[in-house]
């Protein structure tokens, strides 16, 4: 997935990203609140008006920071989306739904009303719903922000494994360096809607940029 000359506006905020590439090795989008991480993800998916050249696969899926669920059971939330995106039969979609719920550790709440789930459980459900669609590009916006610390490694491994097995391009917007390091090799650091720094995630600590250094020390405290 590639983007060139991306320009998007949301109110008075302007996002101006000259280039961004992402493949299955993953690209993390880092930056403080208000830097434009979410706007960049939305623009890449074509969910907000943007100009520039964007090449993305036909089948994309996203997990939002505050995942919305549909009225119905956790299982139905996955199966109904899988049916509509992949054209699966109801029986196949249910089988897939059960498998995805097991992958994210939600088998025990398969029959529960999705709206009664905790925020962390909803994030797990949203991840299962997105992966269930077998995306060729996956956009994750703070996908583990409300997931308990013990549960994060398994979810990171699930996403990493899916990307490696399927070749799915991965773009992760996050404030957690731990999530970025676990899922992505590449990183771009945004400042007020523009790319301030880009390179490998592992080289961020050594970046010769005072802004990135300041950010990184902050991440160390919070991640």
């Amino acid at each position: 997935m590639t983007a060139r000359g991306l320009l998007a506006r949301r109110g008075t905020f302007v996002l101006d990203v000259a280039r961004l590439d992402a493949d299955s090795s993953g690209t993390a989008v880092l930056g403080p609140n208000g830097a434009g991480k979410t706007t960049l993800l939305l623009a890449l998916q074509g969910l907000i008006p943007a100009t520039g050249e964007i090449e993305r696969p036909a089948r994309c899926a996203a997990v939002f920071a505050r995942p919305a669920v549909l009225r119905g059971t956790a299982l139905w939330n996955i199966s109904t989306v899988v049916r509509r995106v992949l054209g699966a039969t109801p029986a196949d979609a249910d089988v897939r739904g059960h498998a995805m719920l097991a992958d994210v550790g939600l088998s025990d709440v398969a029959a529960a009303d999705a709206r009664t789930l905790s925020t962390g459980q909803r994030q797990r459900l949203a991840l299962a719903r997105a992966l269930g669609c077998e995306p060729q590009a996956l956009f994750l916006d703070e996908p583990f922000a409300n997931v308990d610390a013990d549960g994060r490694p398994a979810l990171r491994a699930l996403v990493r494994s899916y990307a490696e097995c399927s070749g799915c391009a991965l773009v992760l917007a996050t404030s957690s360096l731990a999530d970025a390091a676990a899922l992505c090799k590449g990183a771009v650091v945004l400042q007020k809607g523009a790319v301030r720094h880009e390179g490998a995630v592992v080289t961020l600590p050594a970046a010769d940029d005072i802004y990135v250094k300041a950010l990184f020390s902050e991440y160390r405290v919070t991640s």
């Binding site: 899926a61 996203a62 509509r84 669609c133």
Partner: protein
């Protein structure tokens, strides 16, 4: 009495159903569409909320009058004319309440469904399903308004016994004759129908919610 009550329910029910079939897709278009003219439909819905039934009745009666523009339809003083007038009366109400119901939901849901790659027509169906309880309430409110209005029913139906007499026009006639006992019995049936419809709608809402 049973025939009058049945005609009331049939006329108002058909008017409400048709209005819902137009108003709900219209509300979906207002809330989730992209056309700049959708604002005009919202203005039409909002302005129509205060539309006096007697004004609608007058307009429909004029249009269907023998020498009027649609006189050739020969539809004045028929249940069809009454249903059409009630359709016009309740359309803005159902449309406005449907818009309110749709805007009251999770505002990020449309974008999240789009983010999963779900086709637009499937997204709209899922979004309508999400607010089904609110849409049911909007439709019920429309039914109540259609059933209770009297001005349009009188003008477009003519209160002809056995043909276009409904509970509200029959009540007016009974009061005019000084037969308050009969009038109260019509009103009691009217209230019974509204209560029953409300009960059914609330039950459906509880099951859906």
């Amino acid at each position: 009495m049973p025939a009058i009550a049945a005609l009331s329910v049939a006329v108002s029910g058909i008017a409400t159903l048709l209005a819902a079939l137009v108003a709900i897709p219209g509300a979906l278009w207002i809330v989730h569409g992209r056309s700049p003219v959708r604002g005009a439909l919202m203005v039409f819905f909002a302005a129509g909320l205060g539309l006096p039934p007697v004004a609608v009745g007058l307009a429909v009666a004029f249009a269907l009058w023998r020498s009027g523009p649609f006189g050739w339809l020969d539809a004045l003083y028929t249940p069809g004319a009454m249903a059409f007038a009630q359709f016009v009366i309740v359309l803005p109400l159902i449309g406005t309440l449907a818009v309110v119901a749709m805007r009251g939901g999770d505002t990020t849901l449309p974008m999240q469904l789009a983010g999963l790659g779900i086709a637009r027509r499937h997204r709209l169906a899922l979004l309508a399903r999400e607010v089904a309880p609110g849409l049911a309430a909007a439709t019920l409110a429309g039914f109540g308004r259609a059933l209770a209005e009297v001005g349009a029913a009188q003008m477009t139906g003519g209160n002809i016994e056995g043909q276009t007499r409904v509970l509200t026009t029959a009540t007016m006639l009974a009061v005019g004759r000084g037969d308050f006992g009969q009038a109260f019995s019509y009103v009691a049936v009217l209230l019974g129908i509204v209560t029953l419809a409300t009960g059914v709608a609330l039950t459906l809402q509880r099951r859906w919610a």
